[in-house]
C-alpha cells in the first residue's frame, strides 16, 4: 500500500495512530499474560516501522507495521519450533497451536517475539500436536441386495403406466361427470 507523498502532519499522525491501534489489537489477540510486554512490543515494532518508513515513505504505515510483525512472528515460531522450509500458513498455525497448548503465552510472555523460549517450554511446544482422528482403517460398507417383494412389481407397473398429468386429467374428467350427474338428479329431474 502506498501513501500519498503530500500528507499533512495531522494525516500522518492519524495513519500512525491507526498503525499503532492495529498492531496493539493484533498483539492482544495472542492473549499474552503480560500487558506491559504488549505495550513494549508495540512501541518497539512501531519504532522499527517508522525507521523503515523513513527509508521508503511511500509505504503505508499499517501495512508496514503488520508486515513487520508477521515477519517477526514467523521467525520466532521458526526458531522455537525448529520448523524450517515450511509454508508460512503451516508455520503460523503450528506455532499458534503449540503456543496455545503449551500455555507459553502465559508462562513466558516476556519472550514473545523477542527471545527464545525457555528449553522446557520449547520441549512442551514440540510435543503439542493435534490428532483429529486416529489412522484410518478403511472398510467397505455397501448396501446388500434386498428384495422388496410384491409391492415393488406393483408399484413399478403403476409408475410405468401413470403420470401426474394423466391423473389430474382423469380426476377433472370424473369430477365434471359427477357434477353434471348431480345437477341432473337434483335440479333437472
Amino acid at each position: 500500500m502506498n501513501t500519498t507523498p503530500d500528507k499533512t502532519a495531522d494525516e500522518e499522525q492519524a495513519v500512525w495512530n491507526q498503525a499503532h491501534d492495529r498492531l496493539r489489537d493484533f498483539l492482544n489477540a495472542f492473549a499474552l499474560g503480560d500487558h506491559a510486554q504488549v505495550s513494549l512490543l508495540t512501541l518497539k515494532l512501531l519504532d522499527q516501522a517508522r525507521e523503515l518508513h523513513r527509508q521508503g515513505p511511500s509505504l503505508d504505515p499499517v501495512s508496514l507495521v503488520m508486515a513487520l510483525v508477521q515477519k517477526k512472528t514467523d521467525e520466532w515460531f521458526s526458531s522455537n519450533l525448529e520448523m524450517r522450509d515450511q509454508p508460512a500458513s503451516r508455520l503460523f498455525s503450528s506455532g499458534c497451536v503449540a503456543l496455545l497448548l503449551s500455555r507459553a503465552f502465559r508462562a513466558a510472555p516476556e519472550t514473545f517475539l523477542t527471545s527464545p523460549l525457555p528449553e522446557k517450554l520449547k520441549e512442551t511446544m514440540h510435543q503439542k500436536l493435534l490428532v483429529t482422528g486416529p489412522d484410518l482403517k478403511i472398510s467397505s460398507m455397501t448396501p446388500r441386495h434386498i428384495d422388496y417383494g410384491p409391492m415393488l412389481g406393483l408399484a413399478k407397473r403403476t409408475w410405468h403406466r401413470w403420470n401426474s398429468r394423466e391423473i389430474i386429467i382423469a380426476l377433472l374428467f370424473w369430477a365434471a361427470v359427477y357434477f353434471v350427474f348431480y345437477w341432473w338428479l337434483s335440479e333437472a329431474l
Partner: protein, 698 residues
C-alpha cells in the same frame, strides 16, 4: 435360561399378542356391526365400518402392550431377557473390547454437547475402564459458527481432560445421507479399529457404568448385534417438556417393557443410546436405496428401524434393555418443535412401507414397521372416521326428520354402542392406570402420591388438548410425504426458549377458525349429537393458547418448585446430567455475535481451524486466494462478513491457503480499504467468546 426356552417363550408371547390383538379388534368390530343392525346404512357408514378395525386395532395393540408390560413388571422382570441371563453373575470378570462412542451432530448447541462428553468421560474414568473407550464427535454442521465452535470445543475437551488421542473430531465436507451417512462414514474410516460403537444423539448422555455393562453384555452374548436402552427424558424446563418427560417416566416404562416382552430378540433400535456390534453392522446394515423413481427420495430418512431389520436379517439379535438406568435424552421443548420433529419422523416412517413386504425381514420387525406406520397413518384415518361419522349422523337425523316410519334413532342408541364406547375408553385409559400403578412404589420420587395424581390429571388434560391438534398436523404430514414434497432435516431445538404468541397464532390459528366453524356446523346440523365432537373442537379452538402456555419455562419451573411433574431423576440428580442445562429463556433474546470471522482474525482460532482441515486443503495452484474464491474474498474484505451467504462462507473456510491469506489481508490493510465491521472484530479478537469459553480456559 437356555435359548430353546427363550424361543418357546417368544413364540408363545407373540402368538398371545397377535391372537389377542386380532380377537379384541374382531370383538370391537362385531360390536360396531351389531350397533348398525336393523337400520338403514348411509354411504358414510360404510367408511366408518371400513376404517373402524384399523383404529380400534391400534388401540387394542397399545392396550395389549401395556398389559404385557404390566405383567412383566408385576413378576419383577422378564426372566428370559438378555440382561437377566447367567452372564450377569460373572459380569465384573468379563473383559471389555475397544468401543467408540459416536456422537453425530448437526448444528447442535456446542456447549451442551461438549458438557455431555465431559460428563460421560468423567463417569467412565470413575469406572476405571476409560482406556477401552474413544469418543468421536462427527459433525455435519453446515452453519459456519457451529463448525468453528465445535473445533474449539473439541480442543478444549482434549486439553481439559487430557484426552488427545481419545476424543476425535471429524467434519464431513459433503454431508451425504445425513445422520446415517455420518455414522457410515465413521464405520468406513475407523470401524475396523473397534468391536463396538455406542451411538448417541447430541442430547443423549449415558453413564459410565451403563456403557461398561452394555459392552460386557455384548461380549458375553456374541449373537447380539444391537442392544438398545430405554432412555429417560430429562432436563425439561418448559411445561410441555416437563409433561412429556413425566408421561415418559410414568407410562413409558410399561409400554417399553411390553414391547420388549413381545419382541424379545427382535427388538427395536431407535438410533441412539444403543450399542452396536460394528463388524456385522458394516457388513449387513448399509442402507439400501429405495425403489422410487425420484433420485432425491431414495435415501432412507429414518435409518434405525431399517438397520435393526437388516441386522436381524443377517442373523443377529436386537434387544431392548428397558430397565437399564443411566441413559438419558431430552424431548422437544414445545409443540412447535415437536411438530418439526414429527414431520421428519412421519416421512421416515412412511418410507418403511417398502420394508413391510420385503423378503427376509423378521416378523417382529414387520410388526415394528407396522406400528411405526400406523403411528402417523392413524391421524388421517381418525380424521376421515370423524368426518364420515358426523356425515352419517347427519344423514340419519335428516332421514328421521323426513321419515314417518318408526325408524330407530341410529347406531349410538343401540345397547352395543355404550358398551363399545366403554370398551374403547378402557383400552385407552387402562394403560395409563397401569402406568400409575407401576409408579406407585416410587411415588415419593414423583413428588408424593397426591402430586403424582394431580400431575397425571393435568397431563391427561394436556394430552386431550394436544391429540386433536396433532391429528390435523399429522394428516398434513402424511399428505406431504405421500405427495412427495421434499422434507428438510433441521436441527432440533433443545433449549426451553418459549414461543411467542404471534408464532403460535401463525402456526395454530387456522385450527382455532376450524374449531369455531366445526362447532357451529356440528351444532347446526347435528344438534345435541354434536357434543361427542366438542372436545375436539375445543382443542382446535385453544390450540394457539395451549401451544403458547405449555412453552412457558416459568410455568414448568414453577410447577416443579411445587413438586408437580417431578421425575425420579430430579429427586436424585445423576452426576452425568450436571451442567447440561445451558440456555435459559433470557439468553435467547440476545442475538449472539457471529463466531466464524474469528477464524480469519484470531490467531488461535485460525490455527485450530487450519490444523483441523489442512490435510483436505484444495488449493494447489499456488495462486492465493484460489481463483474461484478471489471475488468472494474481495467482497468479504470490502463489504464485511455479513455480505457472504452461508454456502460461500463454507467454501471459503474449507480452503486453508485462502483463509490464511485473508488473515494477512484483514490485519494489514488500512482502515480505508476494509469494511468498518472488521475494525470492531479486530479489537474483539483478543477477547472473543471462543477464546474465553474454550481456548483460554485453564
Amino acid at each position: 435360561m437356555s435359548n430353546s426356552f427363550s424361543e418357546t417363550a417368544a413364540a408363545t408371547r407373540r402368538t398371545l399378542f397377535t391372537g389377542g390383538s386380532i380377537l379384541l379388534t374382531a370383538t370391537g368390530f362385531a360390536l360396531l356391526l351389531h350397533s348398525y343392525s336393523g337400520q338403514s346404512l348411509f354411504w358414510p357408514d360404510y367408511i366408518v365400518i371400513a376404517l373402524f378395525p384399523l383404529i380400534f386395532g391400534q388401540i387394542a395393540i397399545g392396550f395389549l402392550l401395556a398389559l404385557f408390560g404390566f405383567w412383566d413388571w408385576v413378576r419383577g422382570g422378564d426372566p428370559f431377557h438378555l440382561m437377566r441371563r447367567p452372564w450377569r453373575e460373572r459380569e465384573d470378570t468379563i473383559p471389555l473390547a475397544a468401543t467408540a462412542i459416536v456422537i453425530p451432530v448437526f448444528n447442535e448447541e456446542v456447549e451442551r454437547v461438549s458438557q455431555g462428553i465431559e460428563n460421560m468421560w468423567n463417569s467412565l474414568t470413575k469406572t476405571g475402564q476409560i482406556g477401552h473407550f474413544d469418543f468421536y464427535l462427527c459433525s455435519d454442521s453446515n452453519d459456519p459458527d457451529h463448525w468453528i465452535e465445535e473445533e474449539c470445543a473439541w480442543l478444549y475437551l482434549c486439553q481439559k481432560l487430557d484426552a488427545f488421542g481419545k476424543i476425535f473430531y471429524r467434519k464431513r465436507r459433503h454431508p451425504i445421507n445425513t445422520k446415517s451417512g455420518n455414522i457410515a462414514d465413521f464405520c468406513r474410516r475407523w470401524g475396523k479399529r473397534y468391536r463396538y460403537m455406542i451411538i448417541l444423539d447430541a442430547d443423549s448422555v449415558m453413564s459410565g457404568p451403563t456403557m461398561v455393562r452394555l459392552v460386557r453384555a455384548m461380549e458375553a452374548n456374541p449373537e447380539v448385534g444391537i442392544l438398545q436402552t430405554q432412555p429417560s427424558m430429562v432436563l425439561g424446563q418448559s411445561l410441555f417438556r416437563r409433561v412429556l418427560q413425566f408421561s415418559n417416566a410414568v407410562y413409558g416404562r410399561i409400554f417399553a417393557q411390553g414391547c420388549s416382552s413381545v419382541q424379545m430378540s427382535s427388538g427395536s433400535y431407535w438410533g441412539h443410546n444403543a450399542v452396536i456390534r460394528i463388524a456385522p453392522f458394516i457388513e449387513h446394515c448399509d442402507l439400501p436405496i429405495l425403489p422410487v423413481p425420484d433420485p432425491r427420495r431414495r435415501h432412507v430418512l429414518s435409518h434405525d428401524t431399517v438397520e435393526a431389520a437388516l441386522m436381524q436379517r443377517a442373523g443377529y439379535e436386537v434387544w431392548v434393555a428397558y430397565d437399564e438406568p443411566g441413559t438419558y435424552e431430552e424431548g422437544p421443548p414445545n409443540m412447535s418443535d415437536m411438530l418439526k420433529r414429527d414431520q421428519r419422523w412421519c416421512a421416515g416412517n412412511l418410507q418403511h412401507f417398502w420394508f413391510l413386504f420385503a423378503r427376509g425381514i423378521e416378523m417382529g420387525n414387520r410388526l415394528q414397521i407396522w406400528i411405526g406406520l400406523m403411528a402417523y397413518l392413524c391421524s388421517p384415518i381418525w380424521l376421515t372416521f370423524l368426518v364420515a361419522g358426523s356425515l352419517g349422523a347427519y344423514d340419519r337425523a335428516r332421514f328421521l326428520a323426513f321419515s314417518a316410519g318408526p325408524e330407530d334413532l341410529g347406531a349410538s342408541q343401540h345397547p352395543e354402542a355404550p358398551f363399545l364406547f366403554i370398551t374403547t375408553m378402557v383400552f385407552l385409559f387402562l394403560p395409563r392406570l397401569l402406568g400409575i400403578a407401576s409408579s406407585l412404589p416410587q411415588a415419593k420420587r414423583f413428588g408424593g402420591l397426591f402430586r403424582l395424581l394431580v400431575s397425571v390429571a393435568v397431563e391427561t388434560v394436556v394430552s386431550v388438548l394436544t391429540a386433536p391438534v396433532l391429528m390435523l398436523f399429522h394428516t398434513f404430514f402424511v399428505l406431504q410425504a405421500v405427495l412427495g414434497w421434499q422434507i428438510k432435516w433441521t436441527t432440533q431445538n433443545r433449549a426451553d426458549t418459549g414461543l411467542s404468541i404471534f408464532h403460535c397464532l401463525k402456526l395454530f390459528g387456522w385450527q382455532s377458525i376450524l374449531g369455531i366453524a366445526g362447532q357451529f356446523l356440528a351444532w347446526s346440523y347435528l344438534g345435541l349429537n354434536s357434543f361427542w365432537l366438542t372436545p375436539i373442537f375445543i382443542a382446535w379452538l385453544f390450540a394457539p393458547l395451549t401451544a403458547w402456555v405449555t412453552s412457558w419455562r416459568s410455568l414448568g419451573l414453577g410447577l416443579r418448585a411445587w413438586g408437580f411433574f417431578l421425575i425420579p431423576e430430579e429427586a436424585n440428580p445423576p452426576a452425568e446430567l450436571d451442567g447440561l442445562v445451558i440456555n435459559d429463556g433470557e439468553e435467547q433474546s440476545q442475538t449472539p455475535a457471529s463466531l466464524w470471522p474469528q477464524a480469519l482474525l484470531c490467531p488461535y482460532v485460525q490455527a485450530v481451524h487450519l490444523s483441523m482441515v489442512r490435510h483436505r486443503s484444495s488449493s494447489h495452484s499456488g495462486i492465493i486466494p484460489a481463483p474461484s474464491l478471489a471475488k468472494l474474498s474481495q467482497r468479504l474484505i470490502q463489504q464485511g462478513p455479513a455480505a457472504l451467504e452461508r454456502k460461500e462462507i463454507l467454501r471459503l473456510l474449507w480452503n486453508t491457503e485462502t483463509v490464511f491469506w485473508l488473515h494477512g489481508e484483514l490485519w494489514s490493510r488500512p482502515d480505508a480499504l476494509l469494511h468498518s465491521s472488521w475494525r470492531a472484530l479486530q479489537s474483539d479478537s483478543g477477547k472473543n467468546s471462543l477464546l474465553r469459553q474454550y481456548l483460554l480456559v485453564e
